[in-house]
Amino acid sequence: MELLYAACVGLLVFCGVFLILRARTFPIVLGLTMFSYAVNLFLFASGRLSINKAAVLGYSADYADPLPQAFVLTAIVIGFAMTAFVVILAIRGRADLGTDHVDGEKTSQDKKVNV
């Protein structure tokens, strides 16, 4: 179980990072989202995995660690805000730069200015 879980996290990180390293904005956004999934799962797991335990009082004797859950919830929300922003920024970039290319060839700005 734990192994499977860790494997999933690892895989998500792998896919996320790979997408982040692409040269276009949209794949990067996908990658960031995927990466944040992985991170959330990771953070969640820092309270250890607990199957069929209660998160609400009075339903079971032993409880899942609620603190990481709270952390992850906050993280998800913040992640949502950030993703939204970067998506829009990507659109803005497309509009301003005419491309969604972020790999800085032919982009050294101040070439002509003489010393």
């Binding site: 982040i20 991170v39 953070l43 797991a45 805000a81 950030m82 922003f85 970067v86 920024l89 970039g93």
Partner: protein, 505 residues
């Protein structure tokens, strides 16, 4: 009210930010400006009051929700954090004032966003909880993202994309680090973490180490430490200067977090993990200074130059932090204040100069004559002398002090030559910039519509920053004493722990 004083630096900016969105402030430009500036002034004085309170009654611990540490979130107001809060809010005053001259209308929500940024920074300085630190990092980041795009052009968008994406990855890494640390220590209250770390054994030590080192990556990114500095030059050089001036504090947030984490949590008491980041910080810092100096010589515009000066200052700061003695930290604190103020001033100057040189803006090349050479020239002279570190202004005190403290560090024989040569590079670069901008110009006259004279809010804002340099030099005596006190507080492990975990009693 006094009991809540340490919460005001967070509360007031938040209130300011929110109310500025509401009518009548939301709708009327004039009212909004006045309100914004007044509020930032109020915040500044509140922070000042807090500083004095801390001076008299010692560290103030504020348990939010009345849940004491480690369970609730506590704000820890000590000499260092309050000092930095004061610095931040002062910058807030300067920037809101400066922007009220017209920059704030080049995009929406300038004033609310500024206050939110200040909220984030203050929170990061004051909080005693690692996860809460993350939250405030996000607050200041999201605010900075939007401010970065304020009145932006194409270059600006490209820089912003890089800045935002890099920081998103950074935040993710921050979360991983927190996950690891929580998973090992079972708590995220910094003081409690420090205690837990000192009791670790076995492989848990290494897991904690992973957490600590990942935090180093995050803070290095925030603080623009080599090799994670790459985002800074373009970001700061393309941002609207008033925004860049405000950003002058943001790299310092990274450095501050390093100070806290690697002196409190992974400090003397951390057993196997004590000072684990020290050598990394030291060498990264030296490399940063070198690259920054090269950048200074390479810069083709005053804003780019200043951005590179920021990098040099970060390197210098981190080198001092890496030494991790009380005296070195004290020097770091003094240097931090000095460098933040002067770089902010230089950004504003770059803006004012640029406005008077037509299409040449602030590029370091012969251009049109400046309209108000005397006024701007004097300001520039002061700023230049300060940033170069020549007498009689604050820069030279900082330089003497840091050279003195690094003298006995390991590998001082690497730092000293490097730093001295870097200072020479700064001297050359800044002098060249000044001579070119003010003295080398074709005798062409610009039409008045192409030139904008300095107006009152701008010059007041600038002067606040400029006069700081001589003041910091004249009152170097008491200031240095204060810095030393703050530093010794920072390094006093047990005192910190007891203070925070006992809720300040």
């Amino acid at each position: 009210m006094m009991q809540h004083l340490s919460f005001l630096p967070i509360l007031l900016p938040m209130l300011a930010g929110v109310t500025l969105l509401m009518p009548p402030f939301g709708s009327h430009k004039k009212i909004r400006r006045i309100a914004s500036v007044t509020m930032s002034i109020v915040v500044f004085f509140a922070s000042l009051a807090l500083l004095l309170k801390v001076q008299t009654d010692g560290v103030v611990v504020y348990a939010i929700g009345d849940w004491s540490a480690p369970f609730g979130i506590v704000l820890v107001a000590d000499a260092l954090s309050t000092l930095l809060v004061c610095l931040t809010t002062l910058l807030g005053v300067v920037c809101t004032l400066y922007a009220s001259a017209g920059d704030d209308e080049k995009g929406s929500f300038f004033h609310p966003l500024t206050h939110f940024l200040i909220l984030g920074v203050n929170g990061a300085f004051l909080t005693g909880d690692a996860f809460n630190l993350f939250v405030f990092f996000e607050v200041l980041l999201i605010a900075s993202y939007s401010l970065l795009m304020h009145g932006g052009d194409k270059k600006n968008t490209r820089a912003a994309l890089q800045y935002v994406i890099m920081n998103l990855v950074g935040s993710a890494i921050f979360l991983i680090a927190l996950g690891v640390l929580y998973g090992v220590l079972g708590t995220l209250n910094m003081a409690d973490m420090a205690q837990q770390v000192s009791q670790l054994q076995g492989d848990d030590v290494y897991l904690a180490k992973i957490g600590g080192l990942l935090l180093l990556v995050v803070f290095a990114l925030k603080g623009a430490l080599l090799p994670l500095h790459l985002w800074l030059p373009n970001t700061y050089a393309t941002a609207m200067p008033v925004v860049a001036a405000l950003f002058a504090i943001m790299t310092k947030v990274g450095v501050y977090s390093m100070m806290r984490v690697y002196t409190l949590i992974f400090g003397d008491e951390a057993g196997e993990l004590s000072h684990m980041a020290q050598s990394w910080l030291w060498w990264f810092a030296l490399a940063t200074i070198a690259v920054g100096a090269v950048g200074v010589l390479a810069s083709k515009s005053l804003r780019k130059l200043t951005a590179n000066l920021v990098i040099v200052s970060v390197g210098t700061l981190v080198a001092l932090v890496a030494i991790q003695t009380v005296e070195a930290s004290a020097a770091a604190i003094y240097y931090l204040i000095h460098s933040t103020l002067v770089t902010a001033a230089l950004f504003l100057l770059a803006d004012l100069i640029g406005r008077q040189r037509g299409k040449y803006t602030d590029q370091i090349t012969a251009g049109h004559a400046i309209m108000q050479p005397r006024l701007l020239g004097c300001c520039f002279l002061v700023a230049a002398v300060t940033v170069i570190g020549m007498p009689p202004l604050s820069g030279f005190i900082a330089k003497v002090w840091l050279l003195k403290e690094t003298l006995h560090a390991n590998y001082a024989f690497v730092f000293w030559p490097l730093y001295l040569i870097a200072s020479l590079a700064v001297l050359v670069g800044v002098t060249k910039a000044g001579v070119t901008l003010f003295w080398r110009h074709q005798n062409t006259v610009l039409a008045n519509n192409e030139q904008q004279g300095v107006n009152l809010p701008q010059i007041i804002a600038l002067l606040i920053l400029i006069v700081a340099a001589p003041l910091m030099s004249i009152f170097a005596g008491p200031l240095s004493e204060y810095a030393l006190g703050a530093a010794s507080q920072l390094h006093d492990f047990n005192d910190n722990i007891d203070m925070i975990l006992s809720g300040g009693q």
